[in-house]
Symmetry: C2
Subunit: 214 residues, 2 copies
Amino acid sequence: MAIPRAARTQRRTRIQEEKEEVILEAALDVFSVNGFRGSTIDQIAEVAGMSKPNLLYYFRTKEAMHRALIDRVLFTWLEPLRAFDANGDPESEIRSYIRRKLEMARDFPRESRLFANEMLQGAPHVEDELRGPLKSLVDEKAEVIRAWAKTGKIAKCDPYHLIFSIWSTTQHYADFDVQVRAVLGDEHSGEGRFEDAARYLEQLFVDGLGIRQS
Amino acid sequence: MAIPRAARTQRRTRIQEEKEEVILEAALDVFSVNGFRGSTIDQIAEVAGMSKPNLLYYFRTKEAMHRALIDRVLFTWLEPLRAFDANGDPESEIRSYIRRKLEMARDFPRESRLFANEMLQGAPHVEDELRGPLKSLVDEKAEVIRAWAKTGKIAKCDPYHLIFSIWSTTQHYADFDVQVRAVLGDEHSGEGRFEDAARYLEQLFVDGLGIRQS
DNA sequence: TGTAATGTTTACCAATCGGTCAAATTATCT
DNA sequence: AGATAATTTGACCGATTGGTAAACATTACA
């Protein structure tokens, strides 16, 4: 008899590993565009190339799929902020943070949109993670920035709003991609726009924070 | 016999004005949170306090409602950019543009989220408006900024990405409101956060663009 | 005030929704 | 190879979806 996924306590099968991967990949496609409510299991099943009951064999509910997806994305999404080094020098740390976030917007736009969708809906599935782990991480890095400001390495500014502004400006290129393309026109919508954005944003933040030495 | 809304060519009734207003208000509530696909006519009807067929008497389809809503929002949403004055001086123009956009994020967060939802889904209903009127307006203002840069009034920078960065940083406070509140904690989540944001963003952009005179 | 146009509601429809079930198929291991 | 566990599927369920038809109620205007 088949053992439903949730009851598994033993090791996972090869097939389970593979299929769950395929499913989450498809789910990311669908959820990131339509949000949780706007997505259907049938859509995901079709993208995943399997029948709906088969999909539900691996994830017993739509919620479970979304949950698994959010958990995975949330972790990798915070990777750049975790890499933010308190011992590095302000200019290069901020530059590379911007660059890393922009690379993620370029390479993982679906993950960015999934997250954005969740935020727009009021974070019904992840508010605890926001108030817990996310807040802790941001608090820690904000303290680093505050110290930089105190010792005059960068201009005095609110570290939280600084972080918000880096998040928003970089993620914008993933979440509002259609708008960016529409405004820039077809000729400037190639991948080069990420290089232009990086150049502009690094200038904005480095000069805006008064840490240009050259 | 009842004349369906779409067939009306004559003047609108008093009741029509009122009810359409109520409906669009309710639709804004629902669409801005759940997106187009994730919203249901029943939800909107309940919020509007009327029966579903009654609602469908004024807007014959869900699409028609969404359309009417988007059209209205799109216009007012671009008001701050239209007010951007080519003859003003760079610092005060940028400062007041930021301030106006932040005020809109504070006072009309639903409108911002409705727009964000549409972007996340790839702008299936408004791509023409983006490529047409929006692009034209942005092109025009970008030219102003480029001229400022050329005459040395502000630092050399890509005017399009400058506009993108002002859009994203300000709208962030509406679209990612939950996240902002979660990270700032309950004690700093009052309306004062908009003042903090304004102070920070004005500093960032004014200094970042090298136009601080004091 | 009568009447025609406008507005509202109840009952309903086919399609789609998330999810179940039992039977059939396939992989795994001895 | 044979037994057993894991995987897959078609048929189906009740609830919800967007939308309609027609009867009913209300308003505006002569």
